[in-house]
Symmetry: D2
Subunit: 142 residues, 4 copies
């Protein structure tokens, strides 16, 4: 397409994340951005507002959902060169999450003319799979 944009580097993705009040509040960090593998890894640290119950150290599921959606979105955006709209996503919670740090690995399964489908695995700091997501994102320029 004539409007094709250059891919986003890890630094460029981090800059976009930091420009969103919602994502910055969650404190998401880009760990790696593998364009050839269509795989993006984000990390997030627990802060008090993200706890399910005060002082328990357990994450609220909503924080994981936000991480999953964001990781999926930027795994697609990385290749297209710009953030994309989320059409829908699904989250499955597999285990309570108690570690201070999480990582989400988003892998594009298919990127087509109108939509892309991404799988996102979330692991806790001890390497346990704690939640999985699957999202559909729009791939057409606005």
């Amino acid at each position: 397409m004539s409007d094709a944009k250059p891919p986003l580097t890890a630094a460029a993705i981090q800059a976009v994340l930091d420009g969103s009040p919602f994502i910055r509040f969650f404190g998401m960090k880009v760990l790696s951005a593998d364009l050839a593998g269509a795989t993006l890894v984000l990390a997030m640290e627990l802060r008090p507002e993200l706890e399910r119950r005060a002082g328990t150290g357990q994450w609220h599921g909503g924080a994981l959902a936000g991480l999953i959606d964001t990781a999926g979105d930027f795994a697609v955006a990385m290749g297209l060169g710009a953030p994309v709209p989320t059409i829908n996503f699904r989250v499955d919670y597999l285990r309570p999450v108690m570690t201070a740090r999480l990582e989400a690995t988003a892998r594009v399964r298919r990127s087509g003319r109108t939509v892309a489908v991404v799988d996102i695995d979330v692991h806790d700091a001890e390497g346990r799979l704690v939640a999985i997501g699957r999202g559909t994102y729009g791939t057409q320029p606005g």
Copy 2:
């Protein structure tokens, strides 16, 4: 069951919501809790941390996802008398959301021995349907 608990009133649900740092940060409020109709309505107001981009007045989708999951959870909890674990949920975003206030209406479609399924419709302040959710929650005592 011998461990059946009394249903939760709107005030009791609000107290549980306020006891969660995550939900309290989002500022969710119970508008109505219709036990006979198995329908719960929550409202949420935009605050700067929930914006997609600073100063735009547009909600980040992650805030809607958190509202949807919470409304679905407590629609089930209302009848069972205690919060329930989210097993999975799906969110479909239908329109960008620009009004300062949102409402989520969660309706239990089926509550069985092990799981319940809930539909959640989110409307903006002008009555437009902006997102829909569908969630599965565990119904067994921990």
Copy 3:
């Protein structure tokens, strides 16, 4: 758009359904096609190949999934004037299904520039809600 097509009537939808070997085998029938309400109702009768176990009278879930996807697709197609691609769908099974006849009511929740989202409720012959579906369909001409 210059390529807008006239809406499909119930008879036109039935003709398309009958032209698909898969759908004809399932024996799906259009009960009503409400264009203004964006709602389509299909019916299906049990046949031996659709049983979960021979002679039990219980439907296999796969038959319900096929009915749900088809009802959702043609609820969108009705307005656009031509069948549309399924992007994804979700099925939640609520109860075992034992009656000889099923009805699926598909209602378009939102039809946009690139995708439409449809909710599908399946009832058995005694009016019980037995399964629900939610699907995303492409709305752009091929």
Copy 4:
């Protein structure tokens, strides 16, 4: 548990599949049943009733959905020793499917006290990923 059952072998799974009129009609075959890897592979061949349009050689999506649900179910059943109820599943269609043979690889991501979550990848005969599924199944004895 006192009611734990021995795992199902590939031959035992095939016998159960063949005992279901619906699955037998679809002609699903067990290719491999890896208990240690919690991974089951099923194959299916195109027959005229499974075509989207007569004579085109293109599979109807409903046939893929049936394959996905069945593969997911028996990936869980393999370990538990008996078929399990599908609670819900999601299918994402990635490409039109034109080859005479399909394979579905179902991998259990998590099997817990009440539910299991399974990912299912469907490839065509040329090794292209054509659809993906994700399902939730009940794990409690009836």
